[in-house]
Symmetry: C2
Subunit: 152 residues, 2 copies
DNA sequence: TCTGAAAAGCCATTAGC
DNA sequence: GCTAATGGCTTTTCAGA
């Protein structure tokens, strides 16, 4: 379990990891050194997995985001493993989940433009091993983007 | 457009935003101050939207992740707007996208346990305004988690 | 064991070139 | 873009609650 003060620290760092330990300590009622030590412990415990910059997709040239539901030709460990390894290796595949429901996998993909989308859909995804059926859903609007987990 | 050196900087910061400008500058062939100025400009241009800690979902107590496909009872601006505002306000809804395809929206949701999942599915999602059909897909395995955009 | 205070070293940031 | 200088921050050490 995670203590209340630690949760406040995590919430602050999740929103803005460039805040200093002194600043966060001030808001949670700790000195800079005490706050810093707690952060270090949360890192060591694996609660904090790392720190990253949030980049603007459009600025990077990605104008198209889409989800792909993928079904495979079987459920054997060999088939699943082959697909997962190949999906993981493709940089176009941003995320990949094995799910219950109609499809076997849900993939999140980013493309530079509609031509790139076409290429990824027809060549990359369809070319992953043991794929039998794919169905893409284009993202027309991001209503709520990822801003981290609720920590309360 | 973004220059090659800036892309290397972005890639490094996306992976680990705690690296110093001096360290990144060394790998991309710049002095600390030059690298720092480029980072500042990328922030000002909005290419870098912010910095955040990556937290471990299980450590926070989230054992269940699922996607929900949601259909609404109409497509009018009022209906879409009401749903989107309500979805955005729910902390359980981590992400929300308006998509093409069978459903109108795709939501990503995290739950503490199966009981919490039940609560969110039956009360939160179903209670969002103008929802007519929902279909959940439970994540059984995260094959590839979000690690940022390819910047090359 | 966790805290706060102080010291040392590193880093971000700016100015000058 | 680089070098140099400054101020702030991280990080460690140490003593007390």
């Amino acid at each position: 379990m995670i203590e209340a003060t630690d949760r406040k620290i995590l919430s602050a760092l999740q929103m803005d990891s460039r805040r200093s330990a002194a600043s966060i300590g001030e808001t949670v009622g700790l000195s800079a050194s005490a706050c810093h030590r707690r952060i270090r412990l949360l890192e060591d415990r694996g609660v904090i997995e790392g720190y990253g910059a949030r980049l603007n997709a459009e600025a990077l040239g990605y104008t198209v985001t889409f989800f792909v539901e993928v079904s495979l030709e079987g459920q054997s460990e060999a088939i699943l493993g082959a697909f997962e390894g190949a999906a993981d290796a493709r940089p176009e595949v941003l995320e990949c989940y094995l799910t219950t429901g109609n499809a076997d996998y849900v993939l999140k993909v980013a493309a530079l433009d509609t031509e790139d989308f076409e290429r990824i859909h027809r060549r990359v995804i369809s070319g992953l091993p043991h794929v039998t059926r794919i169905q893409s859903s284009l993202v027309m609007k991001t209503v709520k983007r990822w801003r981290g987990y609720p920590v309360r």
